[in-house]
């Protein structure tokens, strides 16, 4: 599904922060992306999300070489990927329901065609009673679940999560992990960027470890 070959990344004229990354992410797979702070996890996630171009190497996503894609093609490809940001990135002026429905709205779909689906997902993640609430009044855990719901509502083939348990207590962290596992069971490939060793110990999955700019894969 996704293939990196000898990918390198540098910012400006600085040294390479990521070097010779070669790996694959297969369909229906589950993996943790880990490494010390500053190892480049967020940069790698951004490349996986097509918001950062590598300075060298080949990235192939869904059988397309991303270097040859136009901006609109990248937007189309991005719809096949869901992303959960560490800081949630919910829009404060939209309700929880509207935030989660945003991926459908940008496609120009009529609300009637997706309303039931969004409501069902919000109920599934436990936000059935908070659909009309604005993000500023949601708790950290509720925001995280809303962000996850927005990332998966359009049934992406790949879900990326950047430190999804970074802002929640361990108990909620474990519950969110179970949510990701369920999504993976339903067919979505999952990449969770985290440096939470305890979280990774909760589930036996492939680990992509970044260290000094290089990637080590532990299947």
């Amino acid at each position: 599904m996704i293939r990196f070959e000898n990918v390198g990344l540098r910012y400006g004229v600085g040294p390479e922060v990521l070097r010779d990354l070669s790996f694959r992410i297969e369909g229906h797979s589950f993996q943790f992306l880990t490494g010390p702070s500053g190892a480049g996890k967020s940069s790698l996630l951004r490349m996986l999300f097509l918001s950062l171009k590598p300075t060298r190497g080949l990235i192939s996503m869904f059988d397309s070489d991303i270097a040859t894609l136009s901006k609109d093609d990248r937007a189309t490809l991005r719809r096949r990927i869901g992303i959960v940001f560490q800081d949630f990135r919910l829009l404060d002026h939209l309700t929880t329901y509207e935030n989660v429905a945003l991926p459908f709205r940008v496609l120009g779909k009529d609300e009637a065609s997706y309303r039931a689906e969004v409501v069902e997902l919000l109920q599934w993640v436990g936000l059935g009673e908070r659909m009309s609430a604005l993000p500023p009044v949601l708790s950290g855990g509720e925001k995280q679940r809303a962000a996850i719901a927005r990332a998966v509502i359009a049934r992406p083939e790949l879900l990326l999560a950047d430190e999804p348990t970074g802002n929640v207590d361990p108990n909620l962290g474990q519950r969110l992990l179970r949510l990701f596992i369920e999504l993976n069971k339903s067919g979505t490939s999952v990449v969770i960027a985290t440096h939470d060793i305890a979280l990774m110990d909760e589930y036996d999955a492939r680990r992509l470890v970044l260290h000094e700019g290089r990637l080590h894969v532990y299947d």
Partner: protein, 325 residues
Amino acid sequence: MSTIDPVKTMAEPWDAGSPASSRILAQRALTAIVPSDSIAGRSLTAVVAILTFLAALTAGVVTMMVGSASDWQSEVGREVTIQVRPVSGHDIQADVNAAIAVAQNTPGVAAVRAYTKQESEALVEPWLGSGLALNELPIPRMIVVKLASGMTPDFAAMRVALAAKVPSASLDDHRGWIGRMRAMAETAVAVGVAILALVVVVTVLSVTFATRGAMATNRPIIEVLHYVGATDSFIAAQFQRHFLFLGFKGGAIGGAAAIALFGVLGAMNAWVSGTPAGEEAAALFGSLSLGITGYIAIFVLIVLMAVVTAFASRRTVNQTLENID
């Protein structure tokens, strides 16, 4: 490494749904993706309104000035005067009558009116004072010749005819001072148009920067839309539509305020009309009526403000998206 079985841990507290909330939700209209009422948006509307008001005032004054100068030039240009000087031994009234006849027989003359003796004496009264025995002074007599619209009489032939029949008469077509006054009026109009152009440029630049400022608060929205798979054109269209409305709203408020002010000034002008102050104002500013050109100019300004805010927002969205990528 311990593992968990997701199937056994499916039942979570958040699994309880709420059909009631979906029914409530179904009745609500969706919130606009770009916040319709924000502090930055209201500030931008105020800035656009104030700048449009100032630009509309300038445009209104300039169009009035252009109209007044044009009216005045055509009014003065359609009139010439014949001066009949008194000559001893000659009946000046007979000379005046002869000059009137010459003028009336000239093609292109619409009307001829001779100032009476009393009117001629009244003309020199401001310089000589009242109470003098003006009868004893050789005061020339003036004949005002109105020209027919769209026709230019043969002044050379008229001068020859006057010289033959009334040697003491001279024809003044005002060409010299009309030329100077016209140059002065044209200069004033050019200065007015230049000031208007500067005001419009400053307004456009200020609105552009104000729009960029308002857009800065919207960067998180642009990023989120980008990340959920919106195309650049979709994002740009959302902001362009919103800012087009903001710009039009601000422009309409400013333009309407300027039109209202001109209306009040026009009413005041009509109220003092006929008084010395009213005459002075009329001489300086003309009729103080905006006219169709003024309304068109203000409407164009309103549309320009809307287009500038929309264009600036689209440009800022595109620049933000370039930075994200």
